[in-house]
Amino acid sequence: MSAAILVFAAAAIFGIGAYGLLISRHVMRKLLALNLMLSAVFLLLIVVPAPIGGQPDPVPQALVLTGIVIAVSTTAFALALMVRLFGKQGHASIPSDLDPRVWRGRWRNSRDGPDPERNGAGAASGDKP
């Protein structure tokens, strides 16, 4: 019975995280949402496997431990990337793929003119040695 509650809790947490990941613009919120989803996955991995002879199975625990290490380092790396993005553009948000402005920009650029997605990287790369 308690396992069922935990499974439902994990499903709810995963859903909240997925919603946050898709909806928020700020990278910090996206990362928090992603970590929420990871917690839900780890919870499921621990709860779902059947115990072996009354003892908990050690393998999923080892997997989750490895997963947590990877999640921590990924999050740290993503935060560093976010700080760099913030330093460059002054805010730490990334535009949505479905943002109509991005699409309008793309179609306008299919004719001529500068490309906002590249931010003048084409011109800048000419200055490189």
């Binding site: 990871l38 080892a62 931010n119």
Partner: protein
């Protein structure tokens, strides 16, 4: 040296060199990284001989058996993609050497990351169980994201961040599927049966793992991170990303499908093949309308990856040979195009296709490279791209899969549309809008490396049999899988 010891070298040589490069002073990093990048491919020669002879090349690290230990093994498919990785990695070195000289911004971080990416790719191709595959794919993704971010522009950082977020979301879906597989079967080995349908979690686990890997492999409609990431990455990084990194996730998909899943539903195979069909068309359409050369090449990847999904509905030896061969030739051709495009951006300062008329006169080697690689992408005989598509066509004919037959036959046309658009606008167009500022030419070696890659992609179509035989003996799951 024994073969298992050689197997460890594939990962340990780049990994230890990465550590050495981090410890070394900034000036010594580049030679260390280049030496290691040239050194590890030599291990493939004795190992490849072993795979061709049909030796069992596997290794349980430290004597610990999976699932707690780490199991490695090298098979035919892994060997083919690892060879592409070796060739593209070496061919990208002149460009990277030039671009990330000591003193250049980000050269400090670039070389260790380059080696870690190499180690991660080899690790993912060697992984013999589902969880180690996850760890290796994460390592590869993190290194790839960091390398994209080494092009220090807002666009590159945004693309890297988007890639990272999506890839992590994908890998957490994959790892959830892996956990369900373990709960069901008590094993993580690749050969373990995840009987679908009858089992409680079988289909759920399969769907989760495949979806997660599709995000990493940028299969339509989960490709959204790919165009931005490939076009904004530095040239040598884009070459390796498009030639190898996406394919590693795709090979993982094949392995999950053919080795971990028993008798996956035929409807799912048809669905995935259909997704591949839409990807071929959509990617080609976007490649046709994109104004920038690097974006055209990136979208063409979305299109060409669609072919690799056709293996699932067409399962069988011939389809596997065709898809494996397409993996090889597309990797070589796409890497050649990205390296050539990077040179064009450096010299002409722009990669807007309409601003590059007269390319054949100003940068003849690059124009020739683009044309040759384009021939392979279209699949004109006798290029390597033709051989792969021809094998897939034969497989479709044998199984009377008329839809796939027509699709593969027509796909050459849509590829031709975007390739010829580039060639027409750059080589056969009045020089009215030309960019006249010419910057310093990069060394000839960077141009020649790209040209050699494109030549290899074409020439391998003339001598395809060694590769086809190798792939033929390594059909995963003995050619089983979904039968139509």
């Amino acid at each position: 040296m024994s073969q298992p010891a050689l197997l460890t070298g594939l990962v340990l040589v780049p990994l230890l060199a990465a550590l050495a490069a981090v410890a070394a002073p900034a000036g010594a990093r580049r030679p260390i990284a280049v030496a290691a990048s040239i050194a590890w491919p030599w291990l493939l020669i004795p190992l490849g001989g072993g795979v061709v002879r049909g030796d069992e090349l596997s290794l349980a690290f430290g004597g610990w058996a999976p699932p707690l230990g780490i199991g490695w093994r090298l098979d035919a498919l892994g060997l083919v993609l690892m060879s592409v990785h070796a060739v593209v990695g070496i061919a990208a070195l002149p460009s990277a050497w030039q671009r990330f000289a000591p003193g250049a911004p980000d050269a400090v971080a670039f070389w260790p990351l380059w080696l870690i990416l190499t180690a991660g790719i080899n690790l993912a191709l060697l992984a013999a169980d589902l969880f180690n595959l996850y760890v290796a794919l994460e390592l590869t993704t993190l290194a790839a994201v960091a390398l994209i971010a080494s092009e220090d522009s807002i666009a590159a950082l945004t693309a890297a961040m988007r890639y990272l977020l999506l890839a992590v979301a994908g890998s957490l879906m994959y790892v959830l599927g892996v956990g369900l597989v373990y709960a069901e079967t008590g094993s993580l080995a690749m050969g373990t049966a995840v009987a679908s349908g009858t089992a409680a979690f079988g289909n759920t686990a399969l769907a989760l793992m495949l979806t997660g890997l599709m995000v990493k492999a940028a299969i339509f409609p989960l490709h959204v991170w790919l165009p931005g990431a490939y076009r904004n990455a530095p040239g040598p990084v884009a070459a390796v990303l498009s030639a190898v990194v996406g394919k590693v996730a795709l090979v993982a998909m094949w392995r999950v499908w053919f080795e971990a899943a028993v008798d996956p539903p035929a409807a799912l195979a048809t669905l995935l093949g259909g997704i591949g069909a839409v990807a071929i068309g959509y990617g080609a359409l976007m490649a046709y309308v994109e104004p920038r050369l690097q974006a055209v090449i990136a979208w063409s990847s979305v299109s060409q990856f669609g072919f690799l999904l056709l293996l699932l509905p067409l399962a069988g030896t011939m389809a596997f040979q065709g898809a494996g061969f397409h993996l090889l030739t597309h990797g070589l051709a796409k890497a050649a195009m990205f390296l050539a495009a990077a040179n064009i951006v450096v010299v002409l300062g722009s990669d807007t296709v309409r601003h590059l008329p007269g390319l054949d006169k100003r940068m003849p080697i690059e124009a020739f490279t683009l044309a040759l690689a384009g021939v392979t992408l279209i699949g004109l005989p006798p290029s390597g791209g033709f051989t792969g598509k021809w094998m897939l066509l034969n497989a479709a004919w044998d199984q009377q899969g008329w839809f796939w037959l027509i699709l593969i036959a027509l796909s050459g046309l849509v590829s031709a549309a975007y390739v010829f658009r580039i060639l027409a606008l750059t080589c056969f167009h009045p020089a009215r809008r030309a960019v006249h500022a010419l910057h310093a030419r990069p060394p000839m070696a960077t141009s020649l490396a790209a040209l050699l890659l494109a030549l290899a992609a074409v020439m391998i179509g003339l001598y395809p049999h060694p590769v086809l035989d190798l792939l033929g003996q390594g059909v995963p799951g003995g050619g089983a899988g979904a039968s139509p």
